[in-house]
Symmetry: D3
Subunit: 240 residues, 6 copies
């Protein structure tokens, strides 16, 4: 089985980190192909970036010429595009935002999301709401760190700990890593989870396993209604 | 006062219709500038089109070089992009989806949306939900007509009537025209509204008046939180 | 165009302040007529006052003998009566509570209301809920000041600042002035908004502009269902 | 124990019917005093009537000079005024709308309300919502009969049966009589309930028993917050 | 009239306390029979205990051989079993969780629950939600005391006071005693309510009065739908 | 990896069917152990059965003496017990009700559940609600067939088709098999799904894959809050 994992931004290094995380989570027989959009923002932090990213990710999949794949994982936490990709491809599509929430719901009565910038809170809340899994979300909290700052392990860890304590105080019994870029930091943040006695769900890992599950069960996106095949028409993908 | 009205697709003829509708609704002192994205879908019908459209509309505004404007009206019913545009520009931004709903709430206890294709229902419901005005929406119903079919007045009218009866049966006391392309048909559909005894709200007209209201009251988008100015970074707008 | 603006209490001085605010917000061609109920409470602070006020305001409009008008603005924040007035008159009716919320939703992802007494919170929450715009209300906070205390600018400003900080902490990105009597204080409280970096929406101003918009677009209350014309019957308006 | 039962309209005959229903439901030691407002509408059918009725009922209680009472029952289904009365008196206040819903929740997973005119649906839905008991309401359906038509037993029964079938189809397992005037018809409508296999809850009976329960347990309205004692001020109750 | 009050655990002493509370709340003509399950947990503190308790309570009622009864009160706050008992018996069934909430809704705009262990919060929230009365619940707070610790009056009182202050800060205007074992402490906790100016509702007392009300009005559980009579089949009640 | 799959009833033949379904869905390296409660109902159809079943399933796991296992799958659709089992065991616990909903949310915007008897609707709705995945459930519909009737393939297929059409009309884009006993019928009902153009999710298969995913990712139930280890105390499991 092959899963294409799309980064939501153009930073190749981040795609690599995400692929590492995806591979670590995947079953033995699963191949992971990373896909970096040819255009878009270098990191997605806010609505404008998210809208730009959604079109670029769809374009990347539309023009993808690699080996045949069985599922798509969208590795942008809280980013747009999930529904459009479901229209585009014939294989299951799993977004890391919803994926993390689905697994978190199985582990505790309420979960909390720890993300990068506070400004992303709204996007994440809306994404969870429309995916149908916001009901058990106790809180979304920002660490105040930008996506590209996440390389600095110590500062990230402290900020993650502070935000994690806030969502726990709001009732969260499970932590969700609200950023694909955090995947590489999994080990250090898991130690925060251990300190607080809370499981930590990484969206990339969750999405890979959910995508595998759908493929294994022969399930794919319904074409009845919302996610029908796009109508044939003239579309221009970027400034001509 | 000048309002830029953005079409969500690349069809110039539709921009012109929208501009006509906007001008008919605007106050005497208001100039309306139509803006057609340089790229994107020729019509927006589904999530994929909507994601593509959002990026193209933002790009059109980002690279706009016309006269200074005081507000933006986004004339794509149920389409993405509203939040990204709010980050981008310093003037008020009104989306026709939310605008129609806001005025409809003032006219009856429940409103219903009549749109083109049934597949757009999900997008519209999500757009109303996140805009905070879904509570009094009784139903969203499709006419089964594509955006570009709307030129055919008689067929549109019959389909609109059937869909209008469905939302009325679901409790709607006010009708919302769920498509910017319907603006040119305002007169004929208003006659359906009259037959059924229901006011008909056109999103373009509503948005123009709401935009004027915000400008007149000196109000603009809050920068505290969700709609902060986009962070400076490298962004590529379309296939390089 | 003429708009009748009804005060919810019998204090003539407050009607005058409201009319000043309404005139400042109105378009050049709009005449504003203030209407003070002939009976009712001298200020509306609580449910009992609100119920009394609703009947008195309806009676004032029922027996109004002034120049013909095109719309009604109900200038009692959180007060009852809106639906009954919609049944009574044939022109659009806009309540300042819902009006402020409608515009606030266009300016930020969540708004907060700052009102006079803490005891009014429940009424305001219920009024926003049934108007269909509570979803994006982050919090309603009281300043602890009675309606008639609002003349004291300095004390009001400090109390307003404290309450504004509370709603901002709860997620509000926009402030709503939760009291018609605050209209006269617009300038001083706007400075608090500026300090906090939050737009401030005044319900009277918002309602005047929304009423103008509905009139300009030829829209009025739906008679289908909830707001049908009152049945003819014997009614006695006050102790015989 | 003495309970004052207020009619929401000025029709003395209806007060008498309500009092009969209340007495039939009351415990042996409970005295029931009917109270007809000295002003207001002759029947309450719509928002305007409801707002007028609320003020008149509060005035009736404010000026009541009969024997001391232990609780108030407000016998207007879906009518306003409940919260204002809670501020006014020091004894428990039970509105028949909420009372019927509270008991109905104990008898089945969903209940449905059958009321007089379809136009009352909105008021009833709002009343249940703000009382906190709308969650398990499957539907509110009108019989198409006015309050004063209810004397005609046969027509009422047929209309009640049709509306009852509609709420049952919507999931109701329990019927609520959505009108105080229906009390006198209890026996005939109970036969419809029997035919359909659904318990029938009458709001007047429910409210009397709930009021008795609160009194017996020494409970009364909380003064902390919403229902604080009205502030002393000048109030005029009706056209001077 | 006879009411059977079931303890949710096997501790006979607690059944006795509950029966005392029930008798103190009952009308003169009502006989109260306490029922202690023959098996189950010695106290119910958590989901596992609750599931075990539900089966044991149903079994106790199934095999009950005492005098005929008219209603059942289930005296386990937040415990499972309510719906199964409704299927089993032909008389009204009132659970103390929902009962307390129903009466609390009549006394203030929001209520708060004070319970024993923080871990019970989830069960109570779910129980209120499915009973249809969670809407006006401001908060559920734990005292940190186990059910069997409640004998120690002074420590209980202090912990109750702290938790009560927390729910009041969250908006509660009424307190609900979230534990059947608290019944015996009614007097001391009522003094906390008095200090804070908040009415205190005891679930056992509330349920007894509601059960009496249903019986007096000739109402019992609907058999249409959810609570139909259990199908005849082989069932084994405990390890053979 | 070993997964214990518990049947919710005592019918050994049904356990075998469930185990076949689980094995068909499991990864190559996963062993499946079926567990039939030693007591409880022979089929679970209603709340009473569900409460009895919950205790019996917990007891079966409590006294289980087979090979060590890595996860538990609870194969009773809409049945109680999930939370109690989470307290009891140290490995991940996945209930087939929530599992099916989680995967269904990834395949379409709304899903619908087709179950056996109409009376189970309430349990299923409540189970989805408290699991946090009810938001995107369009409808739950019964086939009118009892659990033990499901052996009759042709009748089941026709009834399944009728119920599937009802949930599709309510907006479902994905079907969920609302019964563990349906697993053996997977192939025939999948043909109904194909006819209607809707994916069909089987809860047992979904739960097995989700359980595998949690184990593979090293995730297990949070002990912080709701699902803490049961307190040590005296518990009696069934009539002594």
């Amino acid at each position: 089985m092959r899963i294409v994992v799309t980064n939501c931004n153009t930073t190749q290094r981040m795609t690599e980190e995400i692929v590492l995380g995806a591979r670590a989570a995947a079953s033995p027989g699963t191949a992971v192909t990373g896909l970096t959009p040819a255009w878009g923002p270098e990191s997605a932090e806010g609505w404008l970036d998210s809208h730009l990213s959604a079109a670029a990710v769809i374009d990347a999949l539309r023009t993808y010429e690699g080996p045949v794949y069985d599922a798509v994982v969208l590795a942008g936490f809280g980013e747009h595009g999930r529904e459009g990709v479901r229209e585009l491809v014939d294989v299951p599509v799993v977004d890391i935002t919803e994926a993390a929430a689905h697994l978190a719901c199985l582990l505790g009565r309420r979960y909390g999301v720890v993300t990068t910038l506070e400004r992303s809170r709204g996007q994440i809340e809306d994404s969870l709401e429309t995916a149908g899994v916001a009901r058990n979300c106790a809180a979304v909290a920002g660490t105040g760190l930008g996506v590209l700052d996440l390389a600095d392990g110590e500062r990230t860890r402290a900020a993650f700990r502070a935000a994690a304590e806030r969502v726990r105080a709001a009732g969260a019994e499970v932590l969700v890593l609200g950023c694909a870029g955090m995947t590489g930091l999994r080990r250090s943040v898991e130690s925060v989870g251990e300190e607080l006695g809370l499981p930590v769900v990484d969206g990339v890992a969750a999405a890979v396993r959910l995508a595998e599950s759908l493929v294994a069960l022969g399930l794919t996106t319904s074409r009845a209604g919302s996610y029908a095949v796009p109508l044939p028409k003239r579309r221009v993908w970027g400034r001509p």
